[in-house]
Symmetry: C2
Subunit: 701 residues, 2 copies
């Protein structure tokens, strides 16, 4: 019995010790155990350490501004909570600090919260002192996050390694979009996600505030927008100011989006006269479907939107207003004779009509002192150059817009709601290696945004879709292009996930809570072992069932599963390594894991049988144990140094086919690893390069 | 290996199957698996069940009011989330419902949110329909909570048992006090605790809004109170209105407390002129210490308090204002010549002076339309009879006040911050069996309140002090007096704890999050096994160290430990049962648990050695394995049917002494069970009644 506990424990630590061979970062640095994410531009590690003691204190010199003091005070609190050490200093204030302090912050000016501000910093730590230097307060904020991530411990206590870091972002725009229209997300959800964003040096929170399912911000000019166009869940203006303030303190810009001319049902519930077909309109409880649009031929549309955007421009200090512009099918326009008459003779297509509509909006919004952002459909001839294009459809439109002189933001490939593997998001580079773009074009590519569409999340599950994947996206947007080793990323992500949890994010703890509900008991270890090897079906497969509405409970096993099934990720990595370098140590880990899955099965199946909610996952449990046995057989053949019989291998086909079937809208994710073992056994040799391509990729999620 | 997993799993289920012999409830009912808490006044279980299906719907007849519709809609959402079944009905509205609905609610009037309102209800469920009948909306709310708790599942699906329940509370005042002064608790903490309170039929939230460490509510008349008298953390008036509204929707009254004349430093930071000694005053960061008091001789004191209470009386709709009145040492009064002169000749003691002060306050507050509540020190000759006495010092003062014609509330024995075993709180009856009180006196005892003082909690840990213990207190205050079987209470509490978690309470999930931080890794099973047998030192031992301030991180192992170490509770129960009825099945459970603790030790100690935060718990880990081995030896002697040698038993003394020492401000809680096994082995017989009294009780925590 003792053995199993030790084994589980030993396996758990293994992900943190994956050897890796990064593209751009020297292997010794990778193995130094620094849990930095995003990885800084330049890192030089030295011998020695700065021990964290009761004497730890922070002083600031230069012209910092309140953001720096608040952030330094938060660092003090964090280090105390993390280490359990009580410092004598409780807050960092504007009074001149002692230059002998253990952390000295030098900053020349407070800085302005805007895209393109200097965000660089340098950090020097030796055994005596740490010095953080930055041009402005935004750089200091990033440097303090790096300092916090550098905290380590060993049996002697907490410390920071002696190190020199020079750092700055690769891209200026590192955003997270949260769709609060489909499922509203209360202020505390937003605030904890802002803490997570700041921890990984992101600087734009984009709020998708209106859509067919709800209008989510109070208008004092048109209070009917939320009164009739929401279920009562929306941000009051006081609350949105609180969010903006909270974000500002953390160096994050809040960009509001009001999706127009389509995706606008929540406007039309109270203002059917502005739509292109007569009402009445009701909030959608389903997703997709018809997409009514504003009537661009109606002068009242512009009167209304002019007043509305003027109010919103006053509420949000950021210089941007996102006006959506996506997915207008034009159906209502085609069928409205008044609009058809309005178009004749000069407006020859719906695209041209939409462009005229956007241009009129842009003129009003520009007059309010803001620039517009829109999804890539707004890129049409005649669009003014100050408009920023957010590309959700692909890099072609990203580059096209940049070539045409627009600033651009990449969203395509960062749709975290689709739950593709984090590695996919991580390797999605706005400007991949080898891309040929003129410098002037390249400069127009501001960065990217992780997109959290909320059809299938509620406040209790949204963090588990955003984190830790978004930390990997943040690294893609901040770190040098050649930092792209997937195994090393996962190694750090696994620990960064704990750092994020410490900020109050719920991606780990709420999984346990949901599993306890599904199991109907406190003890969930057998179920946890299954959840650690499954992830939700990818892309739009879940939405395609058509079963989901805004009322769906979203409390099934698929809502507990995540894009990062750690045990499966770790297992597949072991097998990859074993295929390349078949050694006894790795084989032992693989065997123990397979035996662990088999050993878990009776308890897991007993639990499944007792809980009606869990019946649908039974095929997964059965496939897990079946494939684990196949994996052990493959290793046995390899150990006997004989090629496995083809008939045996052929006999596993049905089992693999079954194991790749989804159940309960989830899939097993350790199947590839086991298939590789079978292929290896079939060859009968421990040689490198099995040549198996990833089955899951072939099957598309 | 499979064996251990199955064993852990089997052990986990055992608490839910403890046979119990309750004082007042027939054993068959107890064994029916109903997880009701508080247990209703009358329960009659029938054959049959109402299956929960997609067709489930709710209709309301009579005159319900909005509270009923909102609560019924919440029930719909809860049942959907819990079962994963999507109903066609999404909300319960005022439109007349179908009397054939699966749940029909009959209610005569909306009811008034006040102490003494009719809170009774009856619930009938058969295989066709459920009918909930109540005089008013408050009774409906309670009945809906019972309905929700009745939801059960088996492999065939979700259902409610056929049942008849008639229910009403034993006491009118079933409160929870949260001290938001020492450590501020944001709105979302309060809201989730209100959900928990409603789930266990509590009806008063008492907010301790001011104390020496902070002033926590915005005054528009005296904004300096929070500007200078807080660290910036307080409720705005909008926020407190939101809390009051949220509570009202759940049938809960919000009673504000402003502690006077002492505990008032946060008033004096901005108003030193009102104190009995010159300032300046600064907020306390420590606890205890000197307790400055308002100057009762200064007319300005009453002008200020008059205006202040008038504002607060307008803000809080409840007819009560709690004015504290506790722990005034009188030191400042004794040393202030002006006050001494003021007292001559008629006021002969500080008690009399305080009474005069309270009387003046009471007159003003009564004029504002409110009744005063105070801690038991305010009970002095001359106190007006409408004042309600909250007894924190004991039942003597409770009964004395009641005899003198005051309404009273019991707090003594319900100080959940002191982390005594839940069974202690549970058995603390405001009017224990056999108490002789006149009916008129008895009627003055309104009920009781769980008291959550917040010196040693932060928002991330407070739920783990309040829950699930407060559910047991709620049962004491609601259920018939003879419902007092401890083992049966724990059996239900263990499952009610999961019901509470489903409301968003964090008492379980945040423990895991903190353990992950302490361990610095995701895998915490070895540490969890230790935490499941320890609880914090009890009473004021932790505060007595003097190490704690408002800045303390409160993120150590003691902050993760709780008053309910389930594995220890379960183990001690097994041993109790084994001593009374030594059977092979129970012995096997005890053995497996002891072997499990021993098997866990290497992984646990490895984890402790790696984490500087955890070094201090090493003695506990070592004692756990030492005592587990002793326990197995005792069972071996019993199995051999020979009395254990006295020398062997004597040799264990040092180990028991060591095991009862605290470490990291926590103690092992399975020591009594193991000592009982040794005593049993020493007698050499499996006979009933070992006569061992609880060592932990003797040692006092």
């Amino acid at each position: 019995m003792a053995k199993l506990i030790l084994v589980v424990f030993a396996l758990a630590l293994s992900l943190a010790s994956v050897p890796a061979f990064a593209d751009g970062v020297p292997a010794p640095l990778q193995q130094a155990g620094l849990n930095l994410m995003p990885w800084p531009a330049h890192v030089q590690l030295h011998e020695g350490r700065l021990a964290l003691t009761q004497q730890f204190d922070i002083a600031v010199t230069g012209h910092p501004g309140p953001r720096v003091h608040d952030a330094a005070t938060r660092l003090l609190q964090h280090l105390q909570r993390r280490s359990g050490i009580a410092f004598s200093q409780h807050a960092v204030t504007a009074s001149p600090g002692d230059k002998q302090a253990q952390l000295v912050i030098n900053v020349r000016r407070p800085g302005v919260l805007k895209i393109g501000e200097d965000e660089s910093y340098s950090l020097h730590i030796d055994s005596r002192q740490a010095v953080l230097t930055a041009e402005d307060g935004l750089g200091v904020l990033h440097g303090l996050q790096t300092f916090q991530q550098l905290l380590q411990s060993d049996p002697t206590g907490y410390y920071l390694p002696a190190i020199d870091i020079r750092d700055k972002p690769r891209f200026q725009w590192r955003g997270l979009m949260i769709d609060v229209a489909r499922h509203f997300q209360p202020v505390d959800v937003i605030e904890r996600n802002l803490r997570g964003m700041a921890a990984v040096k992101m600087n734009v929170l984009h709020l998708h505030l209106s859509d067919n399912q709800g209008f989510r911000i109070e208008s004092k000019v048109f209070p009917e927008l939320t009164e009739q166009g929401s279920d009562g869940q929306y941000y009051t203006q006081d609350q949105i100011k609180q969010i903006i303030q909270y974000a500002d303190e953390r160096g994050i810009i809040v960009v509001p989006e009001f999706d127009l001319p389509a995706h606008a049902v929540s406007f039309f519930v109270s203002h059917p006269e502005l739509a292109s077909a007569p009402g009445p309109y009701h909030l959608y409880t389903r997703f997709g479907g018809k997409n009514p649009a504003f009537d661009p031929s109606n002068p009242e549309t512009y009167v209304f939107l002019g007043r509305f955007f003027k109010e919103m421009a006053g509420l949000f200090p950021a210089p941007y207003i996102h006006i959506g512009g996506d997915e207008n099918p034009g159906t209502q326009w085609n069928n409205n004779p008044v609009i058809q008459a309005y178009m004749q003779p000069s407006i020859t297509s719906n695209e041209a009509l939409q462009t005229q509509f956007i241009q009129k909006l842009a003129a009003m919004i520009t007059a309010d002192g803001k620039q517009i952002i829109g999804w890539d459909e707004i890129l049409q001839p005649g669009l003014e150059k100050s408009a920023i294009i957010q590309s959700w459809r692909g890099k072609d439109s990203l580059y096209q817009a940049a070539r045409e002189g627009h600033r651009t933001i990449l969203s395509n490939g960062y749709y975290i709601d689709l739950l593709y593997p984090t590695s996919d998001n991580y390797l999605n580079d706005p400007i991949p290696p080898g891309t040929h773009l003129k410098r002037s074009v390249r400069r127009n590519i501001l960065g990217g945004e992780a997109e959290m569409w909320s059809e299938l999340v509620r406040p209790g599950t949204i963090d588990s879709r955003i984190w830790p994947t978004t930390a990997a996206i943040a690294e893609r947007l901040w770190s040098p292009q050649d930092v792209r080793d997937v195994a090393w990323m996962y190694k750090r992500l696994y620990l960064v996930n704990l750092q994020l949890e410490d900020l109050g994010l719920t991606q780990i703890r709420n999984q346990g809570a949901l599993l306890r509900q599904l199991a109907g008991q406190h003890e969930i270890e057998p179920l946890q072992m299954l959840v650690d090897v499954i992830s939700p079906v990818r892309g739009y497969q879940r939405m395609a069932t058509g079963n989901y509405t805004t009322h769906s409970p979203l409390a099934s096993i698929v809502d507990a599963a995540t894009a990062n099934p750690w045990a499966a990720i770790r297992f597949n990595e072991w097998v990859d390594r074993f295929v390349d370098h078949p050694d006894a140590d790795t084989e032992q880990k693989i065997r123990l894991q397979l035996e662990g899955w088999i050993a878990n099965d009776p308890a897991l199946e007993a639990l499944i049988d007792r809980s009606p909610d869990l019946h649908s996952v039974k095929p997964l449990a059965q496939s897990l144990v079946t494939l684990s046995k196949i994996g052990l057989q493959a290793l046995d053949y390899l150990d006997r140094k004989q090629a496995a019989p083809r008939a045996w291998a052929r006999g596993t086909t049905t089992d693999f086919l079954q194991a790749r079937e989804s159940a309960a809208e989830t899939k097993l994710r350790m199947v590839d690893g086991i298939e590789q073992l079978v292929v290896m056994a079939l060859k009968g040799e421990r040689s490198s390069g099995s040549g198996v391509t990833r089955g899951e990729e072939k099957n598309g999620g």
